[in-house]
Symmetry: C2
Subunit: 275 residues, 2 copies
């Protein structure tokens, strides 16, 4: 009965209609956050508008989304623009609008890579035993959390991990296994959303949920489509930590690794917080 | 004879004329790179177009520049757009054009901060003794290097630092003191340019200069104008390292600290390289 299978919730959430440079989409309940949709799904659908564009060439190297205004649940429009088309790179600009007002902007660099000298300098974190990691319960969390299987190996929400020493809240580091729930083969949009699946570091440092929201989010991609194919629908390893919390804004960085220990994405974001 | 003093080379390089949303600028020889101008000065002048705009409110929280095409030495045009004006934040979009073609795009988030709970999580590197650091000679380097006083305390170009163990080229970490040369009080544009004053990490890993260029550059600001005022024209501490080099693109991250050990900016960039 394959023909009756519903599409994966992620694919429903990033579904776009339209052509040329204008597309229409719709938020879904699956990826709802406390107010409006999960920022990661907004990033994913904005990236998808580029990757599905007739003029797209190459794979993403960098992608930055700025969240300019609250996004309401419901319909949205996406406008794409190929800013510059070079021999081996493309520069794209994207806007997400509701009622004619810009709610988010994004820029992407796509490139055709050639095989050359390659090295990973960032040390691989100790790969945690997935069976000993603590699965994040969905209870009390907004809907989007249900769309991920997150297993905390180190740090994370104090709610889940008992921290036994006094340094507890001087570090917001989290090491976790994460995948789409239900399982789904990884692609660039889902990789992008997973980079944003770490809880805001302020929750960890303050040991409670405080008003917080991403204002700018950047992903650098270190994987080609073949690498993503080898990951398939398996879990990846994610690590995140904050750098500085300063008067309403903090930044956090995160990396994703394959189960075999290959670095596939590095990411950073700056978030508003209210205390 | 103060009235006859030339402006600082940095101020000449970021000088803009015009009004509304269109400005004109001119590259200067001082900040020339191997081909075209230093990327950091382009970022600085694009930020300055926003900060000098009549509608500007607040200070920069995040700033991302995408270098879309080679920039020639000579005149350029900057177009600014206030994408969204919220109560305490502004979202800006900027384009730099030559001969009507877009060469670089940027987005910025500005915000009015309020005093609230603040913490720095990133460990402060051991503050190096400036008198024991090795000053980067300007010889053989493009012109922009002369506009900085860079003193390497750890890592850096193998040309300058003798690396005595076999791990030499498995790490691209650099710890340095850096300031404008001649001295100039720090502001957001100069802070931005200094974030880009670290040599491409590929030079260090390969122990030679190879074709390389930034495609996307992001700065998160953790300092208000009062903090910048306390720095004045003194040196700041900078640390940088790469994460992954993969088939023509690598990323590097960097942080800047005041001499007193306050984190003022975190930055990341992704660069093209050819090997």
């Amino acid at each position: 009965m394959l023909q009756n299978e519903d599409p994966h919730p992620f694919d429903m959430a990033i579904r776009l209609t339209g052509e040329g440079d204008r597309f229409l989409g719709q938020t879904t309940e699956h990826y709802a956050n406390m107010i409006g949709p999960f920022g990661g799904i907004i990033a994913a659908v904005m990236l998808k508008a580029i990757l599905g564009h007739a003029d797209r060439q190459g794979d993403p190297v960098s992608f930055t989304v700025n969240y300019a205004a609250p996004i309401s649940n419901g319909a949205f429009e996406i406008a794409t623009r190929l800013v510059r088309n070079n021999r081996s790179t493309q520069h794209w600009s994207v806007e997400l609008l509701q009622q004619g007002q810009i709610c988010a902007t994004a820029t992407a660099v796509l490139a055709t890579r050639r095989e050359t000298w390659t090295a990973t300098e960032l040390p691989l974190p100790e790969i945690p035993n997935i069976n000993e990691a603590v699965r994040v319960s969905i209870e009390g969390f907004p809907s989007w959390v249900k769309q991920y299987d997150i297993r905390l190996a180190r740090g994370g929400l104090p709610l889940y991990i008992t921290i036994e020493n006094e340094e507890a809240y001087t570090s917001s580091i989290t090491l976790q296994w994460v995948r789409d729930e239900p399982r789904r083969p990884m692609d660039y949009p889902s990789l992008t959303a997973i980079c944003d699946s770490f809880f805001p570091r302020i929750y960890i440092r303050r040991d409670r949920i405080v008003p917080a929201g991403t204002v700018s989010f950047t992903v650098y991609y270190h994987a080609d489509t073949d690498t993503l194919r080898t990951i398939g629908d398996r879990e990846v390893i994610g690590e995140a930590r904050a750098n500085r919390f300063y008067n309403n804004y903090f930044d956090q960085t995160a990396e994703l690794w394959t189960p075999e220990g290959m670095l596939i994405a590095t990411s950073s974001q700056v978030c508003y917080y209210k205390e």
